[in-house]
């Protein structure tokens, strides 16, 4: 019969899905580009309010987690199951630390009265409301994606543990990894656009 399904199709499907994620965040970057071009000074002032330390640490954490996920694929290919498990667990920890950092970062912002609809933003200059509005929407959406990515990594971890992901059959791990890298990729753009505008 015609129509042999090979594994490459699953990867193609995953890539196509990643394209939709790129556009999803892309639409928010459209808003960012327009408002930044109109109100660069307010965006710079807004960025100064953000904690660069959190931004840098979270960037480093995500880069390391991406490395660990890539390493886990190499490990599975080399039949080094324990290394793969350790790498995936490490990536999980990185994701969790990222979210904890985010929690403290948001918590601090809310403490000093910067959150959607807060008095400080309502009374302050209007464009700064836009900056923080975008900040919350973009990082919030990204945080949700981190959560989804951690679930996918957890699934991979279990499958590697049960020997359902092996050197011959690793497309699930590949696809979960692709998703995780994409979440990292989006952060690579979020970080300079929100924390580093001067």
């Amino acid at each position: 019969m015609p129509g042999q399904r090979d594994q490459t199709g699953k990867k193609l499907g995953m890539w196509l899905f990643l394209f939709t994620e790129i556009i999803l965040f892309g639409a928010l970057f459209v808003l960012y580009a327009v408002y930044f071009s109109w109100y660069p000074k307010d965006f710079i002032l807004g960025a100064k309010e953000l904690d660069l330390g959190f931004g840098v640490i979270n960037t480093v954490i995500l880069l390391i987690s991406s490395f660990l996920v890539a390493a886990s694929i190499t490990a599975v290919q080399n039949d080094q199951r324990h290394i793969a498990l350790a790498a995936l667990a490490g990536a999980q920890v990185c994701g969790a630390v990222f979210l904890v950092n985010k929690y403290f970062e948001w918590g601090h912002k809310i403490e000093i009265g910067i959150y959607p609809g807060s008095e400080r933003l309502l009374d302050g200059p209007a464009p700064q409301n836009l900056f923080f509005g975008l900040y919350y929407v973009v990082t919030g959406l990204h945080g949700i994606h981190i959560g989804i990515g951690m679930v996918l990594l957890a699934v991979s971890l279990v499958l590697v543990f049960c020997r359902r992901i092996t050197a011959e059959n690793d497309v699930v791990l590949d696809n979960c990894g692709l998703y995780w890298h994409l979440v990292d990729l989006i952060w690579i753009f979020i970080f300079p656009l929100f924390y580093l505008v001067v």
Partner: protein, 544 residues
């Protein structure tokens, strides 16, 4: 051809029986049929809603609907017709059923994802119904423009969420089709041997994939604004409501090509079969499908000439809009040239296709009136716009849907319908259509705005005629659907190839067996080679 059990008798996966063999099926044909009946339900509901709207407008003043109810009714009509009917109709029903067969495959690449898409579709419809009974259906129009959509008290959030879920369904269908065309195509079938309907679905799938996420995030932003009041589109807090319109049309203009491209594909299948002649300009049609998909993504702001955006943008987008007209015109030219000197055999599918060509051309040409920045200012947001997009969307996609129903019905169900009733229905729908929408062009030019339950006395005659036409149209649609459904009680006698078609679906039994092909398909060097086809009307069961 030898007799084999059809997919109706062979559940896939085989362990399910009865209702579960449908609700949990992974067979693309069963999923296509489940879409067919769900979509027909929504279509008929929205047709009736449209009828109610025209009944309200038939006489001046408030007659059967209160102003608020009228607002909700036209929103509901728009939301159902756009998100639950035209966007999914051709890809989800006929794409699901015939795309794998066209490329010689036994199913789509991701059968489970396909079933998930169906459930998302049903869930989206369910949420839309649910929003009706909680705080009233949205009264914003299907465009959900801010700031009204953020400030109105009706249940916009739920309605918007329904559209979000439906968007996911459409996106996953597109993802599935692209992967299927790339990975499941018969080895012997090159890119330029793919039938044109499948080509158009492939081009559409890319638009579904790349444009739908924009509407998803835009609708999420509307929900976020309603729940958290961030103020991204609120001018008092620095935001710009026009940016919402940009984001909305970045999806929704490409979306009209999601709606029309598969329709054009259907017509490209039907015309050569009944002209008994190879399609004129196969490569030009393929190329124009891709060109429409690409160029259609560059023109979104032509919906916004009067929104207050810059004059530069009006100029640029008006210019680009004219560019999109070219590939559409190439297709019309190719269809007409295919008919020229063909051995034409009139059948209901061809009749609907001919109506399509005429109605779609009128719709396309009036689109140029709207695309011209100067003329647009005069007719913007009038009934001219309503008439224009119903000519393209209903006269175009709607008629292509009817044509596809009549063309593939014998293949899907193995039964031929009554031709005479089909013709009468087609004439009623087309005649009613003209009576219904042509007055709207005139009303629009005279300045009657859209989306109001009432109008000035000088518009009374046009509205009366339009309401009259609507009645004929609804009668025609009812007769057409009834005629098709009645055929289901007939014996399965359509035969594998009642029309003399040459694409792969006509080489297999009607209805097809569960894995589509009983023996490996023979791929022709050219998909529209009719040299082997003799007169098939003699072999056809008596429809006439």
């Amino acid at each position: 051809m030898e007799t084999v059990a059809s997919f109706y008798e062979t559940p896939e996966p085989a362990r399910f029986t009865g209702i579960w063999s449908w609700l949990l099926t992974l067979d693309h044909k069963r999923i296509g049929l489940m879409y067919l009946f769900a979509i027909l339900f929504w279509f008929l509901l929205a047709v009736l809603l449209g009828g109610v709207l025209r009944l309200e407008l038939m006489f001046p003043g408030e007659t059967i609907l209160s102003p608020g109810l009228y607002n909700s009714a036209f929103t509901l009509h728009g939301v159902i017709m756009i998100f639950l009917f035209i966007i999914p109709a051709l890809p989800a029903i006929f794409g699901n059923f015939f795309l794998p067969i066209h490329i010689g495959a036994d199913d789509v690449y991701f059968p489970k994802l396909n079933l998930l898409s169906w459930y998302l579709y049903m869930a989206g419809g369910g949420i839309a119904i649910f929003s009706l009974f909680s705080d009233g259906f949205a009264d914003t129009g299907w465009t959900f423009y801010v700031p009204f959509s953020i400030s109105t008290n009706t249940n916009v959030s739920t309605t918007v969420f329904a559209a979000f879920v439906l968007g996911f369904s459409s996106m996953l269908t597109g993802l599935n089709f692209i992967t299927t065309v790339h990975k499941m195509r018969d080895r012997a079938m090159g890119w330029l041997q793919i039938p044109l309907f499948t080509w158009s679905l492939y081009a559409t799938a890319w638009v579904q994939l790349l444009a739908t996420p924009i509407i998803a995030i835009t609708l999420v932003l509307v929900m976020i604004e309603r729940f958290f009041n961030v103020g991204l589109f609120d001018p008092a807090r620095g935001g710009d409501p026009i940016l919402y319109q940009h984001l909305f049309w970045m999806y929704s203009h490409p979306a009209v090509y999601i709606m029309i491209l598969p329709g054009m594909g259907v017509i490209s299948e039907i015309i050569p079969v009944f002209a008994r002649k190879s399609i004129f300009g196969y490569k030009a049609i393929v190329g124009s499908s891709l060109a429409i998909a690409i160029a259609g993504s560059l023109v979104w702001a032509h919906h916004m000439y009067t929104s207050g955006m810059s004059d530069t943008a009006v100029f640029v987008f008006s210019l680009l809009t004219y560019v999109v007209a070219i590939p559409s015109a190439i297709k019309v030219f190719s269809w007409v040239a295919t008919l020229y000197k063909g051995a034409i055999e009139m059948t209901p599918p061809l009749f609907f296709s001919l109506c399509f060509i005429y109605l779609f051309s009128v719709g396309g040409l009036t689109g140029l009136v709207l695309g011209a920045a100067g003329a647009n200012i005069h007719v913007h947001d009038t009934h001219f716009v309503v008439a224009h997009f119903h000519f393209t969307m209903f006269g175009g996609t709607g008629f292509a849907f009817f044509a596809a129903l009549h063309y593939w019905w014998p293949k899907m169900f193995g039964r031929m319908y009554d031709f005479k009733k089909a013709y009468i229905a087609a004439i009623l729908v087309t005649g009613g259509f003209m009576f219904h929408y042509v007055p709207m062009f005139i009303l629009g030019l005279q300045g009657m705005p859209r989306r109001y339950y009432d109008y000035l006395p000088q518009y009374a005659n046009g509205n009366f005629f339009a309401g009259f036409g609507a009645l004929f149209m609804i009668l025609g649609i009812g007769l057409m659907v009834a005629n098709l459904l009645v055929s289901l009680s007939r014996p399965r006698n359509a035969g594998p190839d009642p029309w003399g078609g040459v694409t792969l679906e006509w080489t297999i039994p009607s209805p097809p067996p569960v894995h589509n092909f009983v023996r490996p398909p023979e791929i022709m060097a050219y998909p529209y080679d009719f040299s082997g086809v003799t007169d098939r009307s003699a072999q056809r069961p008596k429809g006439e």
